[in-house]
Amino acid sequence: MTQFKRGVDVFVHLHVHSEYSFLDGGSRIDSLVKRAMHLGMPALALTDHNNLCGAVKFNVRAREAGLKPIQGVEITLVGGYHLTLLAQNPVGYRSLCCILTRAHLENPRHQPRVTLDNLRDNREGLIVLSGCRRGQIPVLLLAHRYVEARKAACIYRDIWGTDNFYLEMQDTFLPGGSHLNSGLANLARELGLGLVATNNVHYAEKEDFKVHDVLTCVRTLTRIQEVHPERPLNAENYLKSGREMTSLFRDYPQAIENTWRIAERCQSALELNTSHFPAFALPPERKAENLLRELVYRGAQEKYGRITRVLCERLEHELQIIEALGYADYFLVVWDIVNYARREGIRYAGRGSAADSLAAYCLGITEVDALERGLLFERFMSLERGEKPDIDIDFDARYRDKVAGYVYHKYGKERVASVGTYNTFRGRSALRELGKALGLPGEELDGLAQKLPAYCHADQIRELVPRLPELRGSGLKADKFSLLLDLCEKVAGFPRFLGTHLGGLVVSREPLTDLVPLQEAAKGVVITQFDKEDVEALGLVKLDLLSLRTISAIEDAMSSIHRQDRALSYEDIPLDDPATYRMLNSGQTIGVFQLESPAQRALQARLGASDIEDIVASVAIIRPGPIKGNMVEPYIARRQGREPVTYLHPALQPILEKTYGVVLFQEQVIEIAIAVAGFTPGEADRLRRVMTHARSQRAMEEIGDEFIARAVKNGVELETAAAIFSCMAGYASYGFCEAHAAAFATTSFKTAYLLRHYPAQFYAALLSNQPLGYYPPHIICNEARRRGIELLPPDINLSGERFEVEPGERRGYRGKAGDISGGVAALKHQNTPPPRERFFHEGTSAGWAIRCPLSRVKGLSCEGRQNIQGNRPFVSLEDLVRRTGLHRDELENLIKCGALDTLDSNRRRLLSLLPACLEIRNSAEQGVGILFEAGGDVVLEVPDFTEEEKFYWEWEILGMNIREHFMARFRGELERQGFKSSRDLAGLPAGRWVKVAGVLFRPHRPPTRSGRVTVFMSLEDEFGLTDVTVFEQVYQRYGHLIFAPQTRPLVVEGTLQRQGNGISVIARRIANL
């Protein structure tokens, strides 16, 4: 037991809320720890509401600061009463986890309630305080129901005994406080219980009360002018000094003494950095290490044919490290998961630094041959670092949950959970939510929030207002927003709620409830109350089983292709296909995984990629870091031979040869440190990590001194060593993991191959798996049309649930009302493939069409779609109405978007017939005789909707335009005014002054080294995208148009720029169309 040095005013706060009380805490853990240290306190407790979310951070920060952390929680009992629990030791911590898990999982979401049985079942290792004014005993005493309060106190005493149950006194200057405390003192005397003073701390400093009050308004959905019982009356719940607390409780000195007596009794409760990863289930006579070795060598034999000495040495090196660190089981668990996916035919791809492992490749976890690429295993796992490995696997998004289900089934629900993640206050959310609480008009707040850049942190708003033209006239500088912006700064990064991490699963050897509280997230997913950093700090290993819609799209595209061409194997797609490289070099890469953004398209149009190494480099180089670090231009210049490739030292040549002397990958930093300065692989990775994460100049200088000294010792000249380090320092922080880039690049190239050779199938698959990638469906449609693929409207007799490829050239069947021969004929011929050579017609897909599915029709229910598909073909509107039971609005939308065009191309006529058809159906359902037939043989002469009206309805109902692009409608007038289309630009010389118009798409401002703003955006017209670059000066004049809350078509005037095959416009003037 710790013995504190007992000064006059020694006091320990045992009831403290942090930001992890979610809208009921006004200060961060860091501030609370700092304040407690400043006040000379020896210990501090953390007791957030119904969770331990802050536990790991609190324990780490407190220990770093030299403060004893006491882990606790303020629980809510059945009946809504509060109670304060403190863990005395790891047993107590386990009790907290069990109590909280039961409270969350046995009650509706967001309403955790603890029963007395739960408390009795998990009473070990706890010290319990009777709680704040919302505790059962204080509530009864304040209501002058002393006898009942006494009875309640007896119940609690009987659970934990007089040594572990205390009556909690507070003096926060609230009405009734004196009466309450004298009642508690009487109870203590009568029942032989101890008293303990707390201050129900909700913020560190007195002035943070305002933050707490406004957050309470957000939580209770009240406005600042409104009264609510949970809003604090005063600012007394700050972390008071020992002197203040002693003064307040001068009549109850034992209540002060007991705070440090309790603190002394509490030991460290949280055990960090112990391993809890499960053992892979094996027969008793088998060892995990042996099985792993066997599987790795079997995989190597299959992949390489024979085990060479080099192969064997590499595998032995990896296996020794894996065994020494005790991660054989981890590899087997992951192997087992991908094996399951393979058995079930679920497509997957390993990503991340795991691709640095040859063992992972041999086990079928990754697709990257680490030996062939010369990848360093130590980037993934090293003896010196000893960190937990992190294997990320992307699965077909539709089946990721099935794979996760397998893990739950195999290891047991009590040992598996999804990892939690925090949604935090950012600029937009803070402005909206706090502003609403302050009583500002919602519409005004929405308008302002929309103008804030998405990246804006809540504490950056004030700084950005004068810098961004779209914010300058927003009114945010006005005095009425001053308090709001102050508060936004205070809550920046505060957790707003706990959600589910995208793919993270933890699997534990012990039941998880012994280690971490669990709760339910949306869709019934059970999550940990810790985020990924915290579960790892606790010793749990996270598996990242991610959903990747690109893999779903690949699967769909392959199924569609296999209907015509069984021979294609995705796994065997040649990575040297010249036609695919030709397409990449043209920059026409919309839809290609990782290579489709404007920056990537521009790079591809300039780079002249000719092998997979170029794609690996492409994936790594278009990242904020390399762009900010001006790495792109030198790399391209060297790649194209316009700049000589030089090396500072001969030892660098084999390392940097593949990237033309530029340090592009993190693995290269490690290799340089080994080759030049004689670092061990583990030491070199440590250097890489310091360089990547170094926050201060001093840290960088220290690591630089070490590198240079060891390089000189290794025989390198001082100046050369310093120059090499300078070069590494310049690039290392931007470096990308080569293994990750290589894993992605393989998928990038293969999707490019599919686009190049099977564009209709590939784009149909992309459209069926939205949202995915960089571009929305309407841009994919436009791109498909540009490549000669027909877009067909939904058709009640033909459309399915997904975008389907069908032969084109039969579009626009216009049968008269009641005649479905065209539709039926189309059905019959749906699977007739067009000539095979059409697939390979360079750059076009004439002859193929993509049919829009019924699932795109807004308002059409799943049941409605099933009814249509189960009862077709339909011969007329009346037939459709009678046999499907579709609602009026569903039928209207189907007609308006063209889904009945094959029955009657006059959509207005169909709409005018609809009421009569519905009447007939209703009469039939009610057993009333049919008085007339809708339409009968008479064809109503009704003028159809105009093309503009049809265009509008298609956009409204399908979210895309089937027939033509919005801009096509203006083309004639635009041409008369001298505007060029995106297609025209291809024939114009660089430097030419041009006027272009289009629908603005995704303007963004990546970070730049100079800090000056450069906006990249695209204008979409009927022929594709025109990429536009807007430099600072022009942006300052027209930024309000670019980042307007509602997107409109824009006009841009400027000069044409050509770089390689890429074309863009440097904007000089911008206006609304």
């Binding site: 406080g177 004196s178 009466h179 009356l233 600012a235």
Partner: protein, 82 residues
């Protein structure tokens, strides 16, 4: 029953700041017991300053609520219980 009243008054306090005598008009009344006390920050967002309230048992079985404005330190009568 109680009624809200407005008006400043003179208050004598003890060593820890608790009222021990109050003056209303020309008359001083002895505080028999401080029954309760609390802080109220009021409408802080409108610049209102906090007030420290006391409920006092005065001589003659009177119960008054008084408060001290925390910025001006002036005392005011707030409520009288009948």
């Amino acid at each position: 029953m109680s009624r809200l009243v407005k008006g400043s008054l003179m208050v004598e306090v003890d060593g820890v700041g608790r009222p021990c005598r109050v003056q209303r008009g020309n008359r001083w009344l002895q505080v028999v017991e401080v029954l309760d006390r609390w802080y109220d920050t009021g409408c802080w967002w409108e610049g209102e300053t906090p007030k420290l309230f006391f409920r006092l048992q005065l001589e003659g079985s009177r119960i008054w609520e008084v408060y001290q404005n925390q910025s001006s330190h002036s005392w005011h009568l707030y409520k009288i219980y009948d």
